[in-house]
Symmetry: C2
Subunit: 354 residues, 2 copies
DNA sequence: CGAAACACCGTAAACGTTTACAGATCCTTG
DNA sequence: CAAGGATCTGTAAACGTTTACGGTGTTTCG
């Protein structure tokens, strides 16, 4: 951990100027003899370029930030998994910000862009407040937002389409002959909660099914709360034949409670989750789930950012990633053989770290 | 995205020297009048300190790297989730390196420490080769290794104890009256595979059970392979009454195959997984699993690194994190009510990203 | 043989900070 | 009021690079 060699050390050892050393290291035209001497000296000293000094001069850090609420959330994780290799391939390091669902922290992170320790950032805001928009407008480095941002906000934007997602699920249940389709939602003051609630209503309308308040239960986006909500629902109405759950965890809670109540899934009650996380494939019966394309949104966001870092001044772009219904056993006793496999095998690799 | 203000801009605006500006910004003793002027100017200009320049001078980047094979792996993810808040609280940013199971990439990452873009690093090597040891010896910044490293390697080291882990599981199965306990392992040329195989043998010996080669099946650490291995096993021996699986994915595969074969879990065959990932709680029946303390190992590693960054020159430390058996339904029909809950609820937060 | 063209190379400035040092200003005190 | 000290401030160097510019030595050509 002794003081590492610098360009100056090499220059002395090789008997040339630091400018020559730099030129050699950067592959600029130089006499063979000099190249040889510099290379030899660098080799002997075990020289490695100092990234910080380099960044100061070049105004490029080759780092990109990814900011979201919580790495533990599988949706964010799916994004991260796609973002990482794209950035790595382009020679960028990834700085991770987990804001822990504190809105003020998100603003802080945006503010910290001014410190210029990254060349750009991908952010998944929890909700988009006035403060967000203001910071995004004044951001000192390019930002790509995953989530919806108002027209005219000067950032690239990757959106999911949970409306269509819910529609896919409800249509699927309807096609299976289900008519008493309940919604088990999370809090409606969150962006996804509100969107899913509205989409559910719309989907029913398009199918000509009545909207029955009795069939809507609000809990939270966790397993235990989901279970509780479903229990309350079953207590109230007895003829439910399908559950549209606003996320996979809620759906798992639903499975717990249905099993305890002696209801068969999917024969008595069909269950659909949302986000298509790894848990959906692991549960039993395996869970039909609406994928909102987290992985793809991550990949697209990374690509948009790289584009922007290269070119810089084109118009902001908006990309919407289509949802996909992954059918598994919780809605059809015999799920189509090839579909629904998603990435059960590969998803969690190795597993051994002794 | 225009050229941001620097300390010089402020100095001009406030009519003082850059040294004064710097002093004010760092809270060094300064006349009130000057403080006021500088603060005002900084405010107006929306000044933010340039982290790169700062790092160059101070030789501190306030960044720490975390390097592992794959963010998708729940074990690494559990570490990450603990590491992140510890570092954040101490004012460090987290740089993520996912080496994708390529050993050469791990060496690269170690080498890149010389670029000094981070103050230190936490690494989970896939396997520890001669090259690793050499790089670790010559590392230009402190490294904490999660995994086992030979005595005398000059780095802090956090270890799991999969030997004891396997013992806990086998003892548990034995206590439940199981006598034909099979091992479904991953490749034995990996560190965890080898350790778990040896531990299984030892555990049997201590219980006075015979080691029966018939009962050992080697597959890979994935769900499908695990299932295949179990199918092969069942084909060969018919009286197996317990499966010790080398990781949770293998165990999930086992559940699939057992169900298909009409065997009841746990009545006919008890199943134990390893790593206690989120999947263990999600599956049905929920999976008894040996936790190797990934989360805690992450937390400890982060703390060791922070210690070292502050103090620097103490002796390398070795910490071993004890395993824990989390009992769920796949071994006992009625799992103890409070235990085995681990973190089913919180683990995967929010879930909504529309 | 002298001048022009060329290929290399070294000097020095710049990136945006922090900080040692010395100079300037103010206050205190005899 | 002068001197001494205390307090504050500005100049300049440093961190490790990259790069514009001009200088040196060699080659080429009239």
């Amino acid at each position: 951990m002794a003081q590492g060699p610098t360009i100056t050390t090499i220059a002395e050892r090789a008997g040339v100027s630091i400018a020559s050393v730099s030129r050699v290291l950067n592959g600029l035209p130089t006499r063979q003899e000099t190249v040889r001497k510099v290379m030899a000296a660098a080799e002997e000293l075990g020289y490695v370029r100092n990234a910080v000094a380099r960044s100061l001069k070049s105004r490029r850090t080759h780092q990109v930030a990814f900011a979201m609420a919580d790495v533990g959330n599988p949706a964010y994780l799916a994004m991260l998994r796609e973002i990482q290799p794209v950035l790595k391939a382009a020679g960028y390091r990834l700085v991770l910000h987990s804001t822990g669902a504190v809105v003020a922290d998100e603003i802080d992170v945006l503010h910290s862009l001014g410190e210029r320790y990254v060349d750009g950032m991908i952010m998944v805001p929890l909700r988009v407040t006035e403060a967000h928009l203001q910071m995004l407008g004044a951001a000192r480095a390019p930002v790509v937002v995953i989530g919806s941002v108002p027209e005219g906000t000067p950032v690239d934007n990757v959106r999911a389409d949970s409306r269509t997602g819910v529609r896919l699920a409800v249509d699927h249940l309807h096609a299976l002959g289900r008519r008493r389709i309940a919604l088990v939602n999370g809090p409606t003051d969150t962006v996804p909660g509100a969107a899913r609630g509205a989409a559910y209503r719309e989907a029913l309308a398009e199918l000509g099914l009545p909207y029955d308040e009795e069939l809507v239960e609000i809990g939270d986006f966790y397993r235990a709360e989901g279970g509780r909500a479903v229990a309350a629902l079953l207590n109230r109405v007895s003829d439910v034949d399908a559950l549209m759950c606003a996320n996979d965890l809620i759906a798992l809670g639903a499975l717990d409670v249905l099993r305890a109540a002696g209801k068969r899934v999917p024969e008595d009650v069909a269950v659909v989750g949302m986000d298509d996380t790894d848990l959906a494939a692991a549960s039993w019966p395996s869970l039909t789930s609406v994928s909102l394309g987290s992985a793809e949104r991550g990949r697209v966001a990374a690509e948009l950012l790289l584009d922007r870092l290269q070119d810089g001044e084109h118009e902001p772009r908006v990309v919407t990633v289509p949802p996909r219904l992954v059918v598994r056993a919780s809605t059809t006793p015999e799920p189509p053989a090839t579909r629904g496999r998603s990435r059960d095998g590969r998803s969690t690799e190795g597993g051994g770290t002794s």
